[in-house]
Symmetry: C2
Subunit: 243 residues, 2 copies
């Protein structure tokens, strides 16, 4: 019987990819408005390429963007980008559609909830606290804080131990087949692949590790009711048998 439901954070609870795209577009727009002598499409395309190469947590995106565009370093243009990027991130931070209702439903039905996520611990907590999501969750497990990344079994095992449940009593819900689904299945948890965002069509070689695939988080309560129903059925079958 499932007692605990764990969620991934980015693109499962928080609508991260959409927000990042908005923030980057607004940043380039503001840089152009403040004199960056390049058209929007050229600069935006170059920024995406750069992020692809250096990763999204690289601290010098706008600095390197100027270098790639053969432009002199200019703190005014960089500041214009930074301002719009941050303003967008703070003003448009949102949960994925349906999240709050689903979390409340699951709590009402007696499930305990947790987060298992990769990423910078302070930045991840910033998202959780800005969205006032902390009250929904019993605990938050952030891989960088433990020195391992999903799908390393250590983070899943630590989460299970802290919540006091066996692997088969826990469900993991996430958008990434490799980190979330493969990782959780590996330690024996029930797995749900949330087919959403930029990973909706990637890493499909791990598809078999998903016990369930959903396109909306609002499908979760029904899945959990289904699992409970099956178990009750099994139990009553066994009782009949024992008679």
């Amino acid at each position: 019987m499932i007692r605990v439901v764990f969620f991934d954070l980015d693109d499962t609870i928080v609508d991260t990819t959409r927000l990042a795209e908005m923030a980057r577009r607004n940043a380039i727009e503001n840089m152009v408005r403040h004199g960056l002598p390049v058209d929007f499409d050229t600069a935006y395309h170059e920024l995406l390429e750069l992020i692809n190469e250096y990763g999204s947590n690289f601290g010098k995106h706008f600095d390197y963007l100027l270098r790639r565009l053969d432009l002199p370093s200019n703190p005014k243009w960089i500041a214009a980008g930074v301002i719009s990027y941050h303003n967008t991130k703070f003003a448009y931070l949102r949960t994925v559609k349906g999240v709050r209702r689903v979390l409340l439903d699951l709590q009402r039905e007696g499930y305990r909830l947790g987060i298992i996520t990769d990423g910078d611990p302070i930045k991840q907590w910033e998202k959780i606290l800005r969205l006032e999501l902390d009250a929904y969750f019993d605990d938050v497990f952030i891989s960088d804080y433990l020195g391992v990344k999903k799908p390393h079994p250590k983070i899943f095992r630590k989460a299970l131990r802290k919540m006091g449940v066996e692997p088969e009593e826990a469900m993991m819900v996430g958008d990434r087949l490799y980190s979330d689904v493969y990782g959780a299945k590996n330690v024996g948890m029930v797995t749900v692949w949330f087919k959403y965002g930029k990973y909706a069509n990637r890493e499909t070689e791990y598809r078999d590790y998903a016990d369930f695939t959903i396109r909306s988080l609002e499908e979760l309560p029904a899945i959990l009711r289904g699992l409970r129903g099956e178990e009750e059925q099994e139990r009553s079958d066994t009782e009949v048998h024992a008679d």
Copy 2:
């Protein structure tokens, strides 16, 4: 005759110290609200001591605060501090009282305006652009960008050269007697000490380098009119003499 008026940025144009104090208080309050097991006064006092030792641009204030308070590292508490600190900085960024009116008055009377400031170039431009102050100024000179700090003569000479004026044709207005007043006087500029903020009673050994002392920026137009009047007087005296 004065043609250009240069201003320092922090605590002359932008009300930086007041903002920083608000941001720090709100940060500690939010950390306590999210479970930091220390009372506000203890934590705030410790933070001020830390900033005093490590400087205000040190990147790990909240991290070090926990160490000083003998508390375990906790990304949730740090995130709570970071959120309130940033929210305050973005929401309450303000110019010093009277700034915009004075800048407009000076522009209307034909003076060109500039900024000569220390600090991280991107952060300084962030303040200027967030407050939409850039249109008032012909140029902005940021010391870190040039590799020197005020009162080094290089930054003042560079500003004069870029604006195409002689030192005696330029006025420097700033809150610091050492960096702004002593530095500008050293290269031959007319100096105004803005006795404001945390430096109002410091570095007074450099007081003699100030040609004028003001407690409100709104005194500036009258000073400039006074200087212009004196010159006209001198010129007409000379003309009379030459007759």
